[in-house]
């Protein structure tokens, strides 16, 4: 069965991740974020802002936030980056993983808060475990190789999910395949990526 490519998704984007220059750039952002807690440098923060804020905003828009709210949450997320910089550990997550996780938690937090008591996700959400310290660089390197080797059908469900925030059922509808197939592709993709993560794989 041939499947339609979803619009606006470049399935070959994974190949670009391999690009050595990109990797160096990513490392550069992580280094900058890692020193922010010490330096409290506003010009460093401004650099991080110019790079990440537009991406964070693009990410937040996918949650269905109206533009004004997306801008506000983006600013809030970046402010949280400044405030929580001391919680960032260079060896554990790349700057982008850390910042996107912060932004995602803020979005979910916001959606819930509209209904409930004031609420802040536990700090552990951002930093749940110490066992990965130091592994992140190796992992990132292996993962970019793994991405480029995923079968297209598996890469596709990952992209629809992470890029477009589509739920399992929405992906199933869009691709015209059963819910179960969406989930098994996701499982396979995840298992394949994990198999590059050495002993953490089970």
């Amino acid at each position: 069965m041939t499947e339609q490519q979803p619009e606006g998704v470049d399935v070959n984007a994974a190949a670009a991740i391999e690009d050595e220059a990109k990797k160096r750039e990513r490392d550069g952002w992580s280094d900058l974020l890692a020193t922010l807690a010490e330096s409290r440098s506003k010009s460093d923060f401004a650099l991080l802002y110019k790079h990440f804020a537009p991406r964070v905003k693009a990410y937040i828009i996918r949650f269905g936030m109206p533009p004004a709210a997306a801008e506000e949450l983006t600013q809030e997320s970046m402010l949280a980056v400044w405030r929580k910089a001391h919680m960032y550990t260079r060896g554990k997550a790349s700057a982008s993983t850390w910042i996107f996780t912060l932004a995602r938690n803020l979005c979910i937090d916001r959606l819930r808060r509209e209904k409930a008591v004031e609420y802040e996700l536990p700090e552990e959400e951002v930093d749940p475990d110490q066992r990965h310290y130091g592994e992140q660089a190796i992992l990132e390197d292996r993962m970019s190789k793994a991405f480029s080797q995923l079968p297209e059908a598996q890469a596709q469900v990952l992209y629809l999910s992470y890029y477009e925030g589509k739920s399992h059922s929405e992906i199933s509808e869009q691709l015209g395949i059963p819910l179960g197939s969406v989930k098994s592709r996701m499982r396979l993709a995840f298992a394949k990526l994990k198999s590059y993560w050495g002993e953490q794989d089970q």
Binding site: I17, V117, H168, K194
Partner: protein, 214 residues
């Protein structure tokens, strides 16, 4: 001892932020108690970091950076003033933020037939409720159009898949038809989040559906 965990596909969707509010609440609640799922959730987040690097940037407001820079020096950010509600032995912290730490203190609504419910009234597709089920009582036989996540907070139940005790999650999709039954003389309280309406099968189920409204 937790013995039933989330499907990888579920943790990927959570990391991608592609979950209904109720489902992400339920997932965070289980993660709060479960190291094993925390590990996999972390892995799923690493994938997200790599992929989201590739997003096409959105345009910011013109004064975006300057208005944030102006806030950097302000002390005591509002966000840290939020009162924290602690969890309890039965209510993991993310859930406690919404309902408090005491299950018995909730305004449960009876639904007859040994069932009570408390609706968390979260937004989005599907529903998120607490169900309180008397010993020996079973939830009507049903299938799902989408996904259904259940987390046990008190007691236990058994169904076609296995036995579920405190902390366990059942992660089901539209392929599963089941009929959970409380299997000890203690009541069972569980959190249930769906992303599409349940479909009850059998005469009892069809009678109960409009009433339960799950």
């Amino acid at each position: 001892m937790i013995s039933h965990h989330f499907d990888d596909a579920t943790l990927v969707a959570r990391a991608a932020g592609a979950m209904s509010e109720g489902m992400s609440l339920l997932i965070d609640s289980h993660l709060h108690w479960c190291k094993e799922c925390q590990e996999r959730a972390w892995q799923a987040e690493q994938i997200g970091g790599q992929l989201l690097d590739q997003l096409t940037p959105a345009e910011l407001l013109e004064d975006s950076l300057s208005s944030v820079l102006a806030l950097l020096d302000e002390d005591a950010p509002v966000a840290t003033f939020k009162p924290r509600v602690s969890g309890s032995d039965e209510v993991p912290e993310p859930l406690a933020q919404l309902i408090g730490g005491d299950l018995d203190a909730l305004p449960w609504r009876g639904m007859g037939i040994g069932l009570q419910q408390y609706d968390l009234n979260l937004g989005g597709a599907g529903a998120c409720r607490l169900l309180r089920i008397k010993p020996g009582v079973s939830v009507p036989h049903h299938t799902h159009k989408g996904n259904e996540l259940t987390m046990i907070l008190r007691g236990s139940y058994s169904d076609d898949i296995g036995r579920f005790c405190k902390g366990d999650v059942a992660d089901l999709d539209d392929q599963v038809k089941h009929q959970p039954i409380v299997d000890t003389e203690h009541e069972c309280i569980c959190l249930i989040a769906t992303d599409a309406p349940l479909q009850f099968t059998g005469i009892m189920g069809r009678l109960a559906q409009p009433f339960i409204g799950l």
